[in-house]
Symmetry: C2
Subunit: 226 residues, 2 copies
């Protein structure tokens, strides 16, 4: 499958690397290719520059947002929640129409430090806002409930015996995402229903961030025991 990954941070790199490893044709999208490749020091999160990662992943191409999305069947939103809408606007509604969006973003607001607040919650969600802004895009919310390395390699923890969630309005798009998650190694993929259920998975970040602090690691996930 031709996949465009929007975002050059840890989440974008994890998705792009794993998808490429699984044989997909992957292009990473960024606002300005020259600026992304010009960075030589670690970013605000301490992440090494994209250029270093790119050298180890020669099969993954880098281009601007619209360019990578144009030819993709599936687009991955791996941007920070605060820039997700502006990124998708940069891609453009016409380019996105009819495509599947795997939306991993979370509406985190770090303006008052850690743990972050949520800039949308409870009566709306970032997933729904994206779906409302791009009605012809098939938004599937998934993977926003665990750390990047476990998103794409669940077997690294407890042989993969933990759960992930999907929600979205388009059943076929959701099925495509479910199969993708299964190819990553996810064995318990729970379909919560339509995109309004993103309120649940995004608000879950409230306990996720606190668990990360309490456990002193992001290498954890929940198993829904039933």
């Amino acid at each position: 499958m031709k996949v465009a990954v929007l975002g050059t941070g840890m989440v974008g790199r994890s998705l792009a690397g794993r998808l490429s490893e699984l044989g997909h044709e992957v292009a990473v999208g960024t606002r300005e290719v020259t600026a992304t490749l010009a960075r030589t020091g670690p970013d605000a999160h301490g992440t090494a520059p994209y250029g270093v990662w790119a050298q180890d992943h020669p099969d993954v191409t880098l281009a601007n947002f619209t360019e990578v999305a144009t030819s993709a069947e599936l687009v991955v939103n791996a941007t920070s929640g605060d820039v997700s809408m502006s990124t998708l606007n940069a891609v453009g509604e016409t380019t996105l129409a009819g495509k599947i969006l795997l939306d991993i973003s979370n509406p985190l607001d770090f303006s008052e430090g850690f743990p972050p607040k949520l800039f949308v919650k409870d009566t709306d969600s970032l997933g729904e806002r994206i779906q409302a802004a791009f009605p012809q895009l098939k938004v599937v919310k998934a993977l926003n409930t665990l750390t990047a390395s476990l998103m794409v390699n669940p077997a690294a923890l407890a042989d993969g015996d933990h759960s992930v969630f999907v929600c979205g309005n388009d059943s076929e798009a959701k099925q495509t995402v479910v199969e993708l998650l299964a190819s990553f190694g996810h064995t318990d993929i729970i379909d919560l229903g339509d995109i309004t259920n993103a309120r649940g998975t995004e608000m879950y970040l409230g306990i996720w961030t606190r668990l990360m602090a309490a456990l002193g690691t992001s290498m954890f996930n929940v198993k829904v025991v039933r």
Copy 2:
């Protein structure tokens, strides 16, 4: 231990029944004893009248809120979130001073149906509101993340191999609650820290209610895999 359980619904009855079974001296508190015992039909949730349950639990006494709380070492807030504050006000600040409150309430707002919204979240929580209103009460938030029967009998699901959370400002009070949960059969009790972490466990209800709908049962819980 002398325990007062505020609330005569399913949560209150589950806690009272199990605590009594474990040998504690349990009194259930209600607004008006006569009114509670006068009910003969099921309530809005389809729960049988309290009087029927009371006949099967002769060791559990029933009295008004202040009366049961006065002699208790530990008070359980098993009321609906929307009446928690008025209930605790009915008990009174003087009566509550110095006691431990196991707060199981959730700030659920069903005014627009299911799934419920939360009437406080993200930048505040019901647990914190209670702690702020009663500074001398030792509020420990716990058990608000699973269905009543599993709160008190975790072994009924997967031999009890799932997780619960505690948070609160007073370490000794938290330890008392941890020991109580362990006596119920909980084996994975995660201390999230101070009472502000109630924001996390209360917002978790967003995914809990949606999981209940998707799974078609409330007999589930999460195990934090790490």
